[in-house]
Each structure stands twice: as structure tokens, then as C-alpha cells.
């Protein structure tokens, strides 16, 4: 049975069905359909997980079908320890994002169809084993997301959406350019995931192509200084879209770093790695410092993403088995934690009408405030700050542990960034959740002194998705062995890639041998 194609088919068919279904459908009915489709997708992802053999580092459950063979475009899917957790995260978080989409009145049919389309495209990108196929899915996810921001976004949505579009379009062009350049330089239209050795391609060309890919994926991740689109996109996007964007779509960038930058050009990567480690540290520190200065809760969480994605670049630069595994962990845990934080910020925004940290005070108030949301928020920010017992800690620990021997300075600076995370998130909790309940700026003493603030209570069903995510964050933090087993052999294989390629080259063995070795 084509396990992986069905994983693509479910959301795409769902999206098509939603669009083509005749007659008027109530928004609630549309949401129910989307939930069923996404539930099916999650179930099927778990089926794939059951079929997945974690002891092997090779691509599994492969499917291939020649598509446009003249172009080297081949429909070729496979899953390994790097993509498996991401596919699961995608299924889970898209479901969460659909669950937390409630009162949608404006064009609900299109909305849910786009969400399904994104989820399918992301699945495709994670599973694609052909560069062009990856690119197609990578681009396919862009337009729906752009539409989600520009139609259902906040007041300044067209600016944010356009910015997002320009940045990611440039990212796509760079990636496509690099892929084509690779074909051009090697003179073959083979777009498979075979690592390039310096015997086959001069180092200068490799570095050039890798540079294009790095910037391309660096925009998507995002890394400083290409992160500029992210805070605006997040602040203007609605909560479910932010969950998707932070939880799933940013992972396309980090996945690209590991799979295509490191995976295609292991030798050039090893040459650039010291610089990349410094870049990672700069990105971490910049994201964390900029987050401290933010007054909008959502912007703060967005900048924290810039910081936390930097760890993944650090780990990829070090490219030791522990670091790469840490990177996979960090992708999963950042996906869960940032989704959790955006959900909670969304609840606060819905109940108070603002996300301004200078206006919100004392939300933890037991009867009139948002005590349960506040409790989850404390849990979420602590997880993000790397508190042991939650997913963030073990991920960061592995990233740092795997990187410190190779790049001590960059690693120590990144740890400093981890300390800064505690600073800004503590400020968030202290300002917005501690103190006396008030939804007014302190500078306005008359209204600030009012004692009769009463927020609408949060219904239990509103916090169910957040509670589920919080439980997952704690579960991974306490029992990381499951995820570790899932990804260990693949991450070890990725880490050995640079050495493997150089060794093979010395022996001038057949390049085909690589196919068995790692990613091919």
C-alpha cells in the first residue's frame, strides 16, 4: 500500500472536497469536516509510524513514480528518522490549529481548504526524495499561507502578508536556483538526494550553491538578519495561523538546513561550519535580546522563535550525532512549545482584546481573570526557557552537549541566549499575569485604579488543545527515550556524512555506495 502517498492524498482530497462540495455549508459543518480529515491524517501518520523501523537510517516506505523524467522530476517519497517526527508534528499541530479555529465567519470554506492544503504540502516537502518535488511542495505551501494572513489577518495584514510573500519568494528562488545550479554544474538532471563530493564538483561551486541554499532556508527558519518578516507575519496572523507558522512551517527551513544544506554538500558544509556556528550564536542572542524589548506578547514569542531556531543551526554546524539528534528534538519541542504559547496568547487576546504588556496586569486572578490559562502560560514559558522536566531542556542540553567540543565559544554564547529566554518570558509572566488585575495602562491612573475588571471566563473546551500540547511537552521532557529512538540512527548517519564523503573520496570508490550510507 502506498503509505506515504495516502498521507498526501488525505489532506489534498479533503481540501478539494471542501472546495467542490455543492451547496451552502455552515461554518461549523465545514470545521467538522476539516477536523475529520485532519484526524484521519493524524491516524494515518501514526500508521506510518507503526510501519517505520527506527533501527534503520535509510529512507523507508519508499515510493517512486517517474513524472517528467526529462526534467529529472520524479515523484519519489520516503521517510526517515528526520522526517518522521516532523510529519507527526505537522499532523498534530494542523489538527490543533483547526480545533482552535472557532468563530470563523468569513469564507470558512476557503479557510479550511487552505489549512488542509498547507498540511498536505508540508507533508509532501518532508517526504519528498527529489529536489524538484521538494521545491514544488515548498512553493505550494506559500500561497495558502499568504492568503491565510492577508484574508483572515489583523489590521495591518496586507503589509505583513506582502512582506512574508516577498521574503519567502526570494527564499524559494534561491533554493530553486541552487538546485538548478547543482544540476547545471554537475551536468546531470539527477535531482536525487545524493551528497555531492568535491571530486564531482569543485569546492568553489559547492560553496556558492551552499551559500544560496543557506540564505534560502535561512529566510524560512528564520535566522538573523533574514528574520524580519516573521514578527510582522505572526502579529497579523490569527492564532491558528500562528500555530501553523511557528509550529510547522518554520521547520521546513530547519529541515532544509539538515537535509539539503548539510545533506547535499557535506564537505562544503564542514568548511563553512565555524562561521555558521557564530551565525547561530548571533541569531540566538539577537532574537533573545530583541524579544526583551517587545511590548506585544505575540511579537515576543515570535522573536523567541528566532532565538530558538538558532540552536538548530548551531547543532547542524557542529554535526555530531548528539547535536543532530538535539536538533531534531529542538524542532519537535519548539513546534510544540511555540504552538502552545501562541494558543495561550490567542486566548488572552480573545478575552482582553489586547496583547500589550504595558496594558495587561494580574491575569492570574482566580475568579475574575484567566487562572488556568496563566498556569499553562507559566508552564509554557518555563518549557521554552529550558526548565528540566519539559521538552525544551533535553533538546537544548543535547544541542549544547553535542556542540561544545567543536565550537565552545558559540555554544557558550547560545547558552547565554537560553538564559535570556528566562528573562523575557519571566517579564511576560510578571507583567501580564502577576500583580493586580487591570487591563489599562499604568499611565492612566483613573481607569487603572478600577477594581471591577471581570474577564469572560474561559470555557474548558477552549483550553483543551493547549492542555494537550502542555502534556506532550512534559511527556517528552520526562521520557525523551521514545523520540530519541525514533531519530537516533538517522541523526547519527547525518552526522557521519561529511566524514563519509571525504573517506569515500579518498578511496575514490563509486559514488553510488553513498546511497546505502546515509541519505541517498
Amino acid at each position: 500500500m502506498p503509505m506515504l502517498s495516502i498521507l498526501l492524498l488525505i489532506p489534498f482530497a479533503g481540501a478539494l472536497a471542501l472546495v467542490l462540495w455543492p451547496g451552502q455549508l455552515a461554518p461549523g459543518r465545514l470545521r467538522a469536516v476539516a477536523l475529520v480529515v485532519l484526524g484521519l491524517q493524524l491516524a494515518w501518520s501514526l500508521m506510518v509510524l507503526a510501519r517505520f523501523d527506527p533501527s534503520s537510517s535509510a529512507m523507508q516506505l519508499q515510493e517512486s513514480l517517474p513524472w517528467v523524467s526529462g526534467l529529472g522530476l520524479e515523484y519519489r517519497l520516503g521517510v526517515d528518522g528526520l522526517s518522521m517526527p516532523l510529519v507527526l508534528i505537522n499532523a498534530a499541530l494542523t489538527l490543533v490549529s483547526a480545533i482552535c479555529t472557532r468563530d470563523i465567519s468569513q469564507r470558512p470554506r476557503l479557510y479550511f481548504a487552505l489549512v488542509l492544503l498547507i498540511s498536505g504540502a508540508v507533508n509532501g516537502a518532508f517526504l519528498a526524495e527529489n529536489l524538484l518535488l521538494f521545491f514544488l511542495f515548498y512553493e505550494l505551501e506559500l500561497i495558502p499561507l499568504w492568503a491565510l494572513i492577508s484574508i483572515w489577518g489583523g489590521a495591518n495584514r496586507s503589509y505583513a502578508a506582502t512582506k512574508f510573500l516577498i521574503f519567502t519568494a526570494v527564499s524559494g528562488m534561491l533554493i530553486l536556483g541552487a538546485f538548478l545550479g547543482l544540476a547545471l554544474a554537475t551536468g546531470t538532471v539527477d535531482f536525487s538526494l545524493t551528497p555531492v563530493s568535491s571530486e564531482r564538483l569543485a569546492m568553489g561551486t559547492q560553496l556558492f550553491l551552499l551559500g544560496a541554499l543557506l540564505i534560502g532556508f535561512g529566510i524560512k527558519v528564520p535566522l538573523f538578519p533574514f528574520h524580519n518578516w516573521l514578527p510582522d507575519a505572526h502579529t497579523q496572523a490569527s492564532t491558528p495561523v500562528s500555530v501553523l507558522l511557528a509550529g510547522v512551517l518554520l521547520k521546513l527551513g530547519t529541515y532544509g538546513l539538515l537535509r539539503f544544506c548539510l545533506g547535499l554538500f557535506p564537505e562544503a558544509w564542514a568548511q563553512l561550519a565555524p562561521g555558521l556556528a557564530i551565525w547561530a550564536a548571533v541569531s540566538v542572542l539577537f532574537g533573545s535580546l530583541a524579544a526583551i524589548a517587545q511590548k506585544d506578547m505575540k511579537r515576543m514569542v515570535a522573536y523567541s522563535s528566532v532565538g530558538h531556531m538558532g540552536y538548530i543551526l548551531l547543532a547542524a554546524a557542529a554535526a555530531t550525532p548528539v547535536a543532530i539528534l538535539g536538533a531534531v528534538f529542538q524542532m519537535v519541542s519548539h513546534g510544540l512549545i511555540s504552538a502552545l504559547l501562541f494558543l495561550l496568547v490567542g486566548i488572552v487576546y480573545r478575552k482582553t482584546g489586547t496583547r500589550d504588556l504595558t496594558v495587561l496586569h494580574g491575569l492570574l486572578n482566580p475568579e475574575r481573570g484567566l487562572p488556568f490559562t496563566g498556569t499553562l502560560m507559566i508552564l509554557g514559558v518555563m518549557a521554552s526557557a529550558g526548565m528540566p522536566g519539559m521538552a525544551g531542556f533535553i533538546s537544548e542540553f543535547m544541542v549544547f552537549r553535542g556542540s561544545i567540543s567543536a565550537y565552545p565559544l558559540a555554544t557558550l554564547l547560545s547558552m547565554l541566549g537560553s538564559g535570556l529566554t528566562a528573562v523575557y518570558f519571566l517579564l511576560l509572566v510578571n507583567r501580564a499575569f502577576f500583580g493586580r488585575l487591570a487591563i489599562t495602562p499604568v499611565t492612566d491612573p483613573v481607569t487603572h485604579g478600577r477594581l471591577d475588571v471581570q474577564l469572560a471566563p474561559v470555557a474548558p473546551r477552549e483550553t483543551i488543545p493547549a492542555t494537550g500540547l502542555a502534556m506532550a511537552v512534559v511527556a517528552i521532557g520526562l521520557l525523551p527515550a521514545g523520540l530519541g529512538r525514533l531519530s537516533e540512527s538517522t541523526s547519527t548517519a547525518i552526522a557521519q556524512l561529511p566524514a563519509l564523503v571525504s573517506a569515500l573520496q579518498l578511496a575514490s570508490g563509486p559514488l553510488l555506495g553513498l546511497q546505502a550510507g546515509g541519505l541517498g
Partner: protein
Amino acid sequence: MSAPSLSLPIQLVWMIPLYGFSGMLLSLPWAAGWFKRNGPRPAAYLNLLVTLLAVIHGSWILQQVWQLGPQHLEFAWFQAADLNLRIGFDLSLTNLAALELVTGLSLLGQVYALGYLDKEWSLARFYALVGFFEGALAGVVLSSSLFMSYFLLEMLTLSTYLLVGFWYAQPLVVTAARDAFLTKRVGDVLLLMGMVALSAWAGSMEFQDLYVWAAEADASGALTPLAGTLLGLGLIAGPMGKCAQFPMHLWLDEAMEGPNPASILRNSVVVTAGALVLMKVMPLLRFSPLATSVLLVVGTISAVGGALVAIAQVDIKRAFSYSTTSYLGLVFIAIALQQPAIALLLLFAHGLSKALLFMSVGSIIATTNCQDLTELGGLGSRMPATTSAYLVGSAGLLGLLPLGCFWCFGLLVDTFAHQQPFFAAVCLLTNALTAFNLTRVYRHVFLGQAMPKTKRAPEVNWLMALPMVSLTVLVALMPALMARLDPVPGIASFSLPVAIAVVSSGLLGVAGGAVAPLHKFWSRSLVQPLRVLQDLLASDFYTDRIYRATIVAAVAGLARLSDWLDTRVVNGLVNGIGRLSLASADGLKLGVSGQLQSYLLTVVLAIVLLLASLQWLQWLHG
């Protein structure tokens, strides 16, 4: 690994931290307000029950270890590539004694809290937090690996933050909780750096393996001096934060804004746990003479400075929290000078005595609703149990009467007198200053005329009195306990002149405190130089202002700079480019929105480019 011959209680040692954590989970339904009918008391009872189980289980293990000798148990937790993280328990007499201290004081503190927080609406939340706190503490004292110690120390940081922030609606509590978390977090991040480096170098995280590695690395010179020094500084930073040592002492005094039962535990067992971790990393400091010197300097400043600052406080809880900093400074000195046995005794004696003092203080606060020394007075005749608790606690803390700390001071002074007379003098000075402080507070609170707030001051209810009186008896019997803990060479193995020196320093302090002028209204001296000194001490050498002017200002400045860079420079650049491209797209506008079209155009162009180049490629090779 757990040998099959080990008895069941020892094999089940992993349950000990879980008692506390399960207490937290059991309290959740009441803390979250799901069960409202019978009030939050059941959560407290459940917590008391699991803590009692922890005490019983711990004593059982202690009794068995007493017969079998130290045991070590390990369980696999997470393994990947060359990373192997295990959960390990070191069941030595020292660790188990510390466990008894932790669980025992936690039990007493929880009974006490039942009385102290009688009318607190969120009692269940308090107990949930205390359960979390106790679980982490119990794990830290038993842990046999640096990783697990760090793991639990951080959890302790979190629970301290939440306990200090218990009454989160008050502005002072908010800043106190923030400072408690951030100060400790600074220490923790530095400790994390040290730990990560050690993990990469040594592989294993078990303390025993680390000692072996350190000996080998030291012999082979595998570590550069710089790396060794940084490692040492990182490792001591965590315990420094936990033990509220200078310059990370700020949080403990602010933490006094939290509920008193938590202060009891914080001033006795949390600091003890921090010091125990320091003791365990001590053999790893052999690469770093600087770290040892830092420990000595920090210990000395904390001991003397803390004792001085304590004297200038008018808040009764703060007066004693600074004294905790001061005593832990002595512990740091003892550890740095390779006297772990004395350090342990001092931790034990200080922990119990300080807990008793804080119970007494809690009784005063609960009865009078007042923490200001200048508004208290004449309680001695009104609250006999509280007064005796205060007196016995003070005696246990001082080198004057033959209770707990007297013997510790004797041992310390005797050990240091010949080689390091300076530190012997520091001990005596600390003793004298503490005696001064305790006497001063005693005069303020218990002697003199009754004040408006102390006129009607009945003794506290039995829920508070019971643990307080039990602990009073325990502190009175402390020398016997200490003699059992440390039979060789005996707690009295110091010379008579040393004993005389200790007693006279204590007497001097008491006499000073007894004759020093105490004004209720002119508590701030009118003599200018004295007033400056008093202000300096009362505001803790202006440490918070120094922080605000340096680190806080630096981080805030960098944050503003980053933000400026982002919004002005990067964003400005992007907007400029964006305007250009949009302007060119304007011409292509056909329908409602030009942006969609421009995007479609880009995509079409890209695809055309793709096809063309591929065709060209094929043609090239075809």
C-alpha cells in the same frame, strides 16, 4: 546497578522524590478548583500523608544503610549516541541524613502551614507547590549524578519562584519572585555551562566517574588552565545562587515576601541542598585554584557582610534571612578549606535552628500581623512557646551555650586557628555579630512595653505550636544527634582555649546587643556617620542598585539596541526594497489586488526559467 539482594525499601528508593511530586499531582484538583465543596483542606492532608510516607521510607532506608553500608542504585533514563544519562541514587549516611532533614522539616513545615495559612483561600496551591519543592529537594540530596542534580536544582528554582510569588497580586511579591528566579537562573546557566562541558569531556555524569576523570585529566594535563578555571567557576556558580551567597544573595531576603512556612524550608533545607551540591562538585575544582579562592572570598564576604546587614534590618524575617546568607558563607569557607565533615555538621545544626527561629517568627507574624521590629514588643510574657522556641533556636545557632552550632564553631576555629587564623577570626566575628543581632531582635520583640499591635497576643493555635515545640525539643537535643552523625573524632574534639574564645565571642555579641540603644521611633540614628553606615547596611550595600545600574542596564540597553536595529535598520531596508518591487508590480495590476498578480507572475517566471534551463541542459548533453 541494583543487586537483587538489596531489600525492597532500598530498591524502591526512586519513589522518594516521587512522594513529593505525587503530592503536587494529588493537590491539583483542589488547586484548580475542580473540587469546591469541602474546601482545600483535603489537598493539605494528602500532602501530609505522602510526606509522612517519605519520612518513613527514608528512615527505613537509613536504618538499613546503617547496617549494610552505603549503597548505589542506577536506572537508565536516556541514551543516544555517546550520551548516556542515568538516574542515580547515592545512599550514603550523609545523603540520607540530609534526606531526613529535608523530609522531616518538610513534614513539620506542612503541619505548621496548616495553622499559619488557615484562612488562605488557595491553600491547595500552596501544598501543590510545597510537594513539588519537597520532591525536587529530596531528589537533589540523594542524587549521584551531576545531571540529575542540575535537573532537580532547576526544578527547585522554579518552585521557589512560584512559592515566593504565591501572593502574586502584591507588587513587592512580583519583584521578589522575579529576582529569586533570575538570580538563581544566572547561577544555573553558569552551572549548565560547566555541566555541558564536563559531559562532553568526561562522558559520564556520575560524580564517581567524574572524580576519576578529574584525577586522570589532572595527572595528564588534558585540560588547559583556562578551561579548568572556567569549569570551576561554572560549577560553583549554581550552589552560590542556591545558597544566597554574595553577590547572588539578593533574592533570599526579598523572598521573605512569600508565605512563612515556605521561608522556613527555604532558609533551612534549600540552602543545605545547594551546599551539598557544592560538596559533591568540590573534587572537580582541583583544576581551578581560582574557584577555590573565589569560594573563600565569597564565603567571607557573605559571612561577615550578611551578619552586618542582618543587624540593620527592621523587618523581622529579613533580619534572619541575611543571617542564613552569613552562615552559609561559613559553610562555603569550610568546604573550600576541605573540611566537608564540619561543613555538614554546621549545615545540619544551622538548618534545624534556623527552621525553629523561622517558626517562632512565623508565630509572631501570625499573631500580630506585623513584621516590623519597631512595632513589636512585650511578647515574652504573652507567647511562652514562641519565646522559648526563639531562645532555643538562637542558642542552637550561636557559639555560646553547648547546643548545635557551638560545637561547629569550636571545630571550625580549632581547625583554622593554626593554618588559617584569618578564617578562624571570621568565624568568631560572625558568631559575635549574629549574637548581637539575635539579642537585639529579642529585646525588640519579646522585652519592653507591649505595643498597640502586641497587646492582645495569644499563643498560636496547636497546629503551629505542635511542630514548633517538637522542633524546640529536637534542637535542644541536637548535640546528641550530631554526636551520632559524626562519632570520630567526636564533636568535642577541640581545645579549651578555643571553647573559651567561641563562648567569649558569643558573650561579647550578646552583651553588645543587650546594651545597644534601641529606639522604636529613632531607629535611624541621628549621628551622621553612624547613619550613613546604618543606611548602607539596611539597604544591603545598595546591591540592588548596583545591579540595576550594571547588569540590568546593560541587558536592557542591548535589548533596546537590538530592537532599534531591527525596526529601523533591517526593517527600513526591507521596506525600501519592498516599495521598489511593489512600485514595479503596480504596473501589472489588473484586478483588485496587485500583490497576488505580482506573485503569480513571479511563479510563472520561475517555472518558465526552470523549464528553459532544463531544456537547455538536455540540449547541452543530448
